[in-house]
């Protein structure tokens, strides 16, 4: 819903009222409105049916499951399934134990993933879009295709390639060793990069205040930063998603009229000033869209973790934990509760982001 609205708002030219709005046409033909209505419902019925079947019912069922102890091997309404109230949620938020600790760790992992990936992919996509949108660049089509290519390739295939690249004696470490750097064993290294940097400047253990815990893990662990394993995923996702977002930026850039740019040129703006004060403000709706899409999709990181996760728990995300707890532990109630907490988190963060990053400065 939110997504569709955002897309709509970003794409539609602002302040233009459509004279051909369907509602107006209907108003003119008042007598046949009812027939039209019925026909309309008939046409959307298949799509609606599919949505109810595969979206509404499963979500409702999952919500029900999150209040039970369903094991996943009986009917969810079977006699062995008992309601447990909020126990599944309590185990994640208030009760000390492995589930809360894992949930806390995975929120932290994902938080760092989002904090690094969203700005990086947005900046990279914007930069690529501006580069390939340059009228004087030769072979623009080729570059657009090349930059877009990672986005259309199977995420599983690309992740597998990355696993090879980032092995202990893989290509990345071989290249680093040319420069005299002994690379870490990326995928298996559970140390947070901030912890590593701190230990380089002499801080090896947590100061007293960092011993306090939140969601089952200490403040020291919260500020540890993404692990080296997570850094691999950050690099991977930045690279693969920037192509998609580049397309959105190109579309928006083509809406920027040449007149405005030329006018600013005549007024004596440098290329940087022109970019910063003319192009970027005009791209604002597209930037907001990319940030929103990025924020939502990065909190749902899953495919890549299923491949890298077994090596290293610091690459786990709440989405993967939900799957793991459900299918490996047969605790589907717990898994569903994780999914709903993740959903709540995404909604809250998106609302916050939309409040602080306005699409239109004049509003």
């Amino acid at each position: 819903m939110g997504l569709a609205r955002t897309l709509d708002e970003a794409m539609a030219p602002r302040g233009v009222s459509a004279p051909w709005s369907p509602r107006r046409i209907w108003r003119h033909r008042g007598s046949s409105t009812r027939g039209q209505n019925a026909a309309g419902w008939l046409f959307v019925a298949p799509a609606l049916g599919i949505l109810v079947m595969f979206l509404v019912i499963p979500i409702g069922l999952a919500l029900y499951v999150s209040f039970t102890n369903w094991s996943g091997i009986t009917s969810p309404f079977g006699r062995t399934v008992q309601g447990v109230g909020l126990a599944n949620y309590r185990a994640l938020l208030t009760e000390p134990g492995l589930n809360r600790q894992l949930f806390g760790t995975d929120i932290r992992n994902n938080l760092y993933f989002v904090l690094f990936t969203v700005p990086l992919q947005t900046l990279l996509a914007l930069w690529l879009a501006v580069v390939v949108n340059n009228r004087f660049l030769r072979g623009r089509g080729f570059f657009r295709l090349a930059f877009y290519f990672p986005s259309v390739t199977s995420s599983v295939a690309i992740t597998t390639v990355f696993i090879f690249l980032f092995q202990g004696s893989g290509a990345v470490n071989k290249i680093l060793s040319v420069f005299g750097i002994r690379g870490p064993n990326w995928l298996y290294d559970t140390r947070g990069i901030f912890t590593v940097i701190l230990s380089m400047i002499g801080v090896h253990s947590a100061p007293g205040w960092a011993g306090h815990t939140f969601l089952g893990i200490s403040i020291w662990q919260w500020i540890a930063g993404p692990s080296f394993g997570m850094c691999v995923l950050i690099i991977l996702l930045t690279w693969t998603t920037s192509g998609t977002f580049m397309l959105l930026f190109i579309a928006a850039l083509q809406g920027v009229s040449l007149d405005v740019e030329e006018a600013s040129e005549i007024d004596g703006a440098t290329p940087w000033q022109r970019f910063r004060h003319v192009t970027v403000p005009m791209l604002r709706p597209a930037i907001v869209l990319v940030l929103t899409l990025g924020l939502i999709s990065t909190w749902q990181l899953f495919d890549q973790v299923t491949l890298v996760g077994p090596y290293n728990q610091t690459t786990w995300t709440p989405a993967y934990l939900s799957y793991y707890v459900s299918f490996q532990n047969n605790e589907f109630g717990q898994g569903a509760a994780i999914a709903f907490l993740l959903f709540a988190l995404i909604v809250i963060l998106t609302l916050i982001q939309r409040r602080f990053v306005k699409e239109d400065l004049t509003r």
């Binding site: 134990g97 092995q167 490996q328």
Partner: protein
């Protein structure tokens, strides 16, 4: 060769006896929730279609299972629909949740409690064969709440594999085959060098547990009512592994850029490893040029022997409408002749004592794996243990820089939480 023929003849006899008759074990029921209830078999023994779901380790297993199903179907006048699940545990769960479980399926011992607790398993085992035909540890692995549920399909034990070429190169002889930890340490030291690490051990509880057992430690107490992960024996065992890792004579697969220890061993990066008998097939197909031999796991400081065992059983759901035919199918699959065929096809060890012993006699390579059976330890089957173990496993690769006691305390604490109501 002769022994095998005799065995096959015996098996054929059993098979003929089983094949046509079907099952007549039905006794009155008292409801499936009570532990000692009698089993009621349902449906006809002929003319039905059964579903068999399994997760294959490779083409060899797929071919063998499919052939066995075909053979029984022809013999008994039934049909078998064989489903080779690509994501086995997930597909099995889905089949059960959907109310259409397969009539016969693989079930790992770690999964038994999950299924038995829900009343989803038919405790048919004693209808097929007496418990004394099978290794006691395997029967125990499929016993929950005093009920023996299913027939152990086969099993795999850990053993110590040695690259004999590297062994000779390091100047070691057959007298140096490690019988205990100190010999293991000394050998690993001699074998390490020139890009080779003495011993590569999988970075999981499913390998390190063998060291616990060798030091007199365990996962749970004998009654299976409490966990014993942070016992002094286990801590000492993990400290021993850590000291070898610190010396650089023991490595975990990630440190050797390998997916599993067998890969490091097969590529000659490690001179010894502690994998199960599945490594026989892997070495044959992926690293045929490597010369190697398997020996029983070395004993701990007190001379105690220990290893780990991993096993599957033939599960039958309590809701099956054709359990009579399903039980007769399992009778065929677990017959001595069929067990031998499976063992030869994809390297698993037969769960019947007589068949396993005969098989080991014909295949000396297998003997070291079978040898561990009397004292082998099974993995934990407590519901919810998967995440607990994963939490431990994900730290093992960095063992050299961690405190073994803290690691095991954490494991103990997380595992104990599972037993709380």
């Amino acid at each position: 060769m002769k022994a095998r023929n005799r065995l096959a003849a015996v098996a054929l006899g059993t098979l003929v006896a089983v094949g046509g008759v079907g099952v007549t074990g039905a006794v009155a029921s008292t409801g499936r929730s009570t532990p000692h209830s009698k089993v009621v078999l349902t449906g006809k023994a002929h003319g039905v279609t059964l579903t068999l779901m399994y997760g294959s380790s490779g083409p060899a297993e797929t071919a063998a299972v499919t052939a066995a199903a075909k053979a029984w179907a022809a013999l008994s006048g039934n049909k078998v629909n064989v489903i080779n699940a690509s994501n086995f545990t997930q597909q099995l769960d889905q089949a059960f949740a959907g109310g259409t479980p397969p009539d016969v399926f693989y079930l790992g011992s770690q999964q038994l409690e999950t299924f038995a607790k829900q009343g989803e398993l038919l405790p048919y085992a004693s209808l097929v064969a007496p418990a004394k035909d099978f290794y006691p540890a395997l029967v125990k692995a499929y016993t929950w709440n005093h009920t023996w549920y299913c027939i152990p399909k086969d099993f795999s034990n850990l053993a110590l594999e040695i690259n004999t070429t590297l062994w000779k190169k390091a100047g070691l002889t057959s007298a140096d085959i490690p019988k205990n930890w100190s010999m293991l340490e000394a050998d690993a030291k001699k074998l390490t060098g020139n890009g080779v690490v003495g011993l590569d051990v999988g970075n999981t509880l499913d390998r390190l547990g063998a060291f616990f057992a060798e030091n007199g430690g365990s996962y749970m107490n004998a009654a299976h009512t409490a966990f014993t992960f942070n016992s002094p024996q286990n801590v000492k065992a993990l400290q021993f592994v850590q000291s070898m890792a610190k010396q650089g004579i023991l490595a975990f697969p990630p440190q050797q850029s390998s997916g599993w220890a067998g890969e490091a061993f097969g590529l000659g990066k490690a001179a010894m490893t502690t994998e199960g008998n599945w490594i026989i097939g892997a070495m044959k197909s992926s690293y045929p040029s490597i010369k190697w031999a398997a020996y029983p796991m070395p004993a701990g400081p007190t001379g105690k022997k220990g290893t780990l065992t991993f096993t599957n059983c033939w599960g039958i759901p309590s809701s099956s409408k054709n359990s009579a035919a399903a039980v007769s199918f399992v009778k065929y699959l677990a017959s001595p002749a069929q067990q031998l065929r499976f063992a030869e096809a994809f390297g698993v060890l037969p769960s019947r004592i007589s068949v396993a012993q005969a098989y080991a006699k014909q295949n000396p390579q297998v003997a070291a794996f079978v040898a561990g059976t009397p004292y082998a330890m099974s993995p934990v089957g407590t519901v919810g243990f998967a995440t607990v173990q994963s939490q431990f496993d994900s730290q093992v690769a960095n063992l050299a820089s961690l405190d073994p006691k803290t690691l095991l305390d954490e494991l103990q604490q997380n595992a104990e939480a599972l037993l709380r109501p």
